[in-house]
Structure formats: structure tokens, C-alpha cells
Amino acid sequence: MLNRTAENVARATPEPLARKVRGISDKGLAWLFISPTILLLLAINIFPLFWAIYLSFTNYRANRPNEVVKNLGFANYQRILGDKDIWLAMQTTAHFVFWTILLQTLIGFTLAWLIDRKFRGHAFWTTLILVPMMLSPAVVGNFWRFLYEPQIGLFAYAISFVTRIPPTDIQMLSNVSLAPWSIIIVDTWMWTPYVMLICLAGLRSIPEYIYEAAEVDRASNWRQFWSITLPMALPFIMLAVLFRGIENFKMFDMVNLLTGGGPGSTTEVASITLKRQAFESWRTGYSSAFAIILFVAVFGLANIYVKALNKVKQR
């Protein structure tokens, strides 16, 4: 049937075109098929990247199209690396990335381990746990803002119920010490299921006979966990950490919706600073340089991490 269809298509192809196609090598044909994708990638990814690199050496401002564009050399880069506020934003980002990854990995792995026990109703609980991940970050940001509201928010009332502190004193988004944690809590709530899913895949990939052999050797549960479960699931955990690390390094939506970077600059992560420089202060050249620095940082760290991941996998 398939052969007949192919024959029909071949017969229907006009002779001049058929002759041309016959003359193309397999490699040529492969290039022909992937060239639209490559062109698209060049247009929307590679060209803007090189354009941003070019802009990063200039004083260009998108809101001053008539102004002469001057070449500044590395001045933008020097200014960024010497800017106290930029370093503060990087520290805030690092703090946020560290705590979200730590909490999501610990809770995510624990949940995966529990779900893997296959208790009664585990499918229902798995689905329920996955719900936050399926929501849009815009929706999550907005409803958590209401939950955190000190006068009407459920979160403040719940904490108040437990601690007996008046709810109006629990100002998660206004308090300098609590605001970073308010974002960490929401991000952890939303993305722990994602880490859990990856860890669950890792746990399910461990062959049952290894545990049976360990049982025969009278290895305790604790010993089995440390010697079998954790080492064999580690590549998956590391993969989850990589994905979440990259995602959280460029976190914007949740921070913007919950605190807008405030109070003051307490939760101003690098992406918020970048947006402010690029689209509020209109320092296009300066912000391009900052974007390149962030890109290099993420790219470099991710590369180091992937090498470590490969080593773990080879063990």
C-alpha cells in the first residue's frame, strides 16, 4: 500500500523536478529539509544575539533613535561589573536560586520516594500534587498575592492561627526579611511537582532485582537507600536541579507579580534589573552588556554542571 502511494507520488512529480531531485545527494536533501529551521533560528536567535553583542559596546538607546550611536568599547561592561546595585541583584538571584533548588529537590525527592511506594490511591495523590505545575505563573502570582494580603489573605490567617501573631502583622510582601521567602515559598509550591516527576522517573528506572539482591544480603532499608536508591537516582536529581537552576536564574514573572522587586530592592533579581534598565530606563547598550554577562554566566555554569552530570552518569 505504502509502495503504491510512493509510486503514485513519483509518477505525479513533474519530470524536470524529478530529475533535479534525483541529482541531490542524501546530505543535500537533509540540508534542504533542515534549512528552513536553520534560517528561522538564525533570524530569531543567532542574529539578535550578535546584534545584542554589538549594541553592548555602544551607548545606543532605543528611545533616542535620532541620536548618534557611539562606540564605548568595554565601558558598559566595566560599569556593570563595578555597579553595586548589579552585584546586589546577582546576590539576590543567587539566594533565590539556592533556596528554591534546595527546597524543591528535598521535597520533590521525598514526595517521589513516597509516591513510589505505590500505596492505595497513589495515582490520585500524584495528580493532585501535579496541579500547581499546570497553572499559569501569572495566575499563581496573582492569587498568591491575595493569599499573602495581611488584611484578607488566607496565608496570614493560617499563620496567625498557629502562631497567635495578629494577621495584620504578617506582611509577607512588605516586610524586608519575609519578602524573599514569600517568593521562595510560591516557587517551591509551584515547581516541586516538576522535580518530583523527574525523580520519580529516576526511582522507577532502578531495576527491582538490585533491591532483591540487597534483601538477600540482609541490607537494611537505610543501607538500601544510601547504596542503591540515591546513587542510581542521582543523575535524574541532577538533571532536575539543572533545569530548575536555569529556569530560576532567569525568573521574572513570579517576582514581578508578587513584589515587583520590592520592598526597596530586596527581591530585585537580575532579570528585573535587566528589564528596568532595558525598557524603563531605555539604556539599550548598557542592558545588552548586562544580558551578555548573564548569558555567559548561565552558559558557563550550565556547561560545568553538565560535565559533572556526565561524570556521575559514567560511574
Binding site: P65, T259, G262, G264
Partner: protein, 443 residues
Amino acid sequence: MKSRLKLALGLTSAITASTAVSNVAHAEDLTLCWAAWDPANALVELSKDFTKETGIGMKFEFVPWTNYADRFLNELNSHGKLCDLIIGDSQWIGGAAENGHYVKLNDFFDKEKISMDDFVPATVVGYSEWPKNTPNYWALPAMGDVVGWTYRKDWFSKPELQKEFKEKYGWDLGPPTTFDQLKQVAEFFQKREIDGKTVYGASIYTERGSEGITMGAMDVLYSHGFQYENPKKPYEMEGFVNSDKSVKGLEFYKALYDCCTPPGASNSYMGEGVDAFKSGQVAMHMNFAFTWPGLQKDENVGGDKIGYFVNPKGPDGEQFAQLGGQGISVVSYSDKQEAALKYIKWFANKDVQAKWWSLGGYSCLNAVVKDPAFPASQPYAQTFLDSMAIVKDFWAEPSYAPLLQASQKRFHDYVVAGQGSAKDALDGLVKDWTQVFQDDGKM
């Protein structure tokens, strides 16, 4: 076959003709860009008269305040043709004039005998002129606005509260005339039980993302003696922006935020302020005058329950208020500039301006606001007039955006996050603003 061909040809002609007719009908339609807020709805209503008179249809592109600057500055910077007319914020005037986004209106005003002397002087300087205080006009003053205060007249007039207040502070509870009085009133109401509900002193601007905290803090700083620059030497800011008086002003704003705002009000601007007042949370409410018609009509807090007062005096008796509002301009990239200018000519007309005020817009025309009947025309009309007489505005330089971002950060870091001192914040602001002007080659 023939009949089918005829039918097909007939349909094609009909479709072509209808498209052509509709194109003719809409060829001169103008698009007016502005913020999505109550006055914009009033303008839609008002503009129906323009369409009736001229046959030119009006379309509107309204964007919420939070995205207003981003959206329309992007449009102007990309030389977009979406807007034929734009009601742009007062701070945009420098950039829009220098970058050629707006059509210069001097020749048009001369030709049509539209005199800027017919408009409230502060609005001409604030919304139309660039460079400031020179007769170079880029907009017609369209919507006067200024920061002022509303208060709960019904709470202020409760005898038991009046008695308690008098005993505590030694003066009659009423709309404050100085900032010290304002703080006393705010403290008095903070966390007080009124009608079985806990209420708070005041709602003030604390928003971080766009311009909120700057508009609020400046409202207080001006009356404490803050100046943007040396009046004799432009761009010299040291000792003016960070003078001792300015430091006191900023300390006052922080003290007001710390003592007397509702819990969680760390990111409040116009909308949040209106919500706080309408929901009966606060005794006083700082906001632009455009919010007043809506509040006046509100069933729960409007009518006899609401009062208005001008921004109070500072410690040395100085009294200023932050200017808001906008002028209407013709976008230089529009293909319909002739029709757009017709709209501006129509809008400058006295009768149209009078109707604009009656619909809820704030006219800037002297003939309207100096009419003897004006102060009594609305309960807030006199406060609006008094406030417009004492306005000051933020930088309107082409670099207003980075200037604004710097003040947003410095003020929020100090007032809301409590980092550093007021002196640190203002010293830092001088440093940031100096850098911006150096980048611009102005220093």
C-alpha cells in the same frame, strides 16, 4: 454556467464595492491614544460631538496606567502609525519634542488664533512647552491634574472623635493645613475602631514599579524645600536635591508610611489608594484629582461623606503639589495630521472645554476654570483650582525615564525597605541623576 459566472462576478463586485465604501467611510478616522481611566471614557463621550460636526470618526486606544508609558513610548520610538493623536504624560514632552515624535504646534496655534495665554499657566509649562518656559508648544493642555487629598468628612465630624482629638492635640479635628497636622490626624485614626471596623490613618503612594513613590514623596518634599537644581545654575543639584530641608521632607514621608498606612500598603498607587478609600479603610487618601469625580459619586464614601483638601504646607510655610495631567499632541508619524489638527482646534473651543469639565474631565482653559460658577460646580472644584495654583513637576527632560527609575529606587529603598538614611537616599539620588545628565552630555 453563465448564470453562475454572473453570480460570481456580481458577488465579487458587491464585496469590492462594500470594502471600498467602508474604506472611504473610515479613511479619515482618527485614533487617539491615552490611558485607560475614567477621564478617557468621558473623552469618548465628548468626541461624539466632534464626529457629528466634522464627519471624522474617532477610534480610541486606551492602555492601563501600568503599561501606558511602556506601550506608547514603544509606539513612538518605533515611529508607529497607530496613534494620530496622543495624550502623553507631562514628563514625556522633552523626549517627544527632541526625538521628533510630536508635531510642533506654534504655526498651527498662530493660524487658528489659539493662544496659550487662554490656558492655566502651570498647565502650559507642564504639558506643552519644551524647553520649559519658552514659547515652543508641542501639545494643547488637555487634562489638568494634580495630587491632592480626600478625607472622610463623616468620621471627622463625629462629636466623640472631635472631642477626643481636641483634648489630645489642642486643635479642632478638620482637614489639615500643615504636614505636622496631617500626621497628627493620621496617627489619631490609625488602628481606630469606627463603626465596628479597624481603620487606618492615610493611604499614600508607595508603588515601586512605575512612578508611584516618586509622585508621593515629591508631593511632600516640595513643601519641605526640595529643589531639583540650583535656580541660577541648571543641573547643579548638590545642596538642592539633598538639602537639609529635603532630608527632613523624606524623613517625614517615611514616618508617615511607618506610622499611619494600612498593613501591606508597600506598593500602592492610584488604584490601590482608591480601593483603600472606597472600602472605608483610611481616613485620608493622597491621590490625583482625576479620582475625585468617581469618589464623589461613590455610594459608600461619596456625597456628604467625602471632603477634599489641598496638599498641606511644609514647616516653613511653603506649599506645593505634584503636577499630573497631560497635553494632547499630534503624532508626527501619522498620515492624518490635518484631521488630527482639526480635532485639536475643536477641543480648544470654550464650549467643548466646558462640556469636558461637566463630563468629568479637568479642563485647563481659563474661561472654564475662572468662570465665577466654577468653584461651586463640583464639591472638589475649589480644591482643584487651589491645587493647580501651587504645582511643581518632575524632570521633563528627554532622560526622564532613568531619572525617574533612580528616584523610585532610592525612595523605595529608604521609605519602604528602611535601608540607610534619608540623607543617604538623597545623596545617592544626586549621584544617579548626575550620571544621567553626564551621559546626556548636559554636565
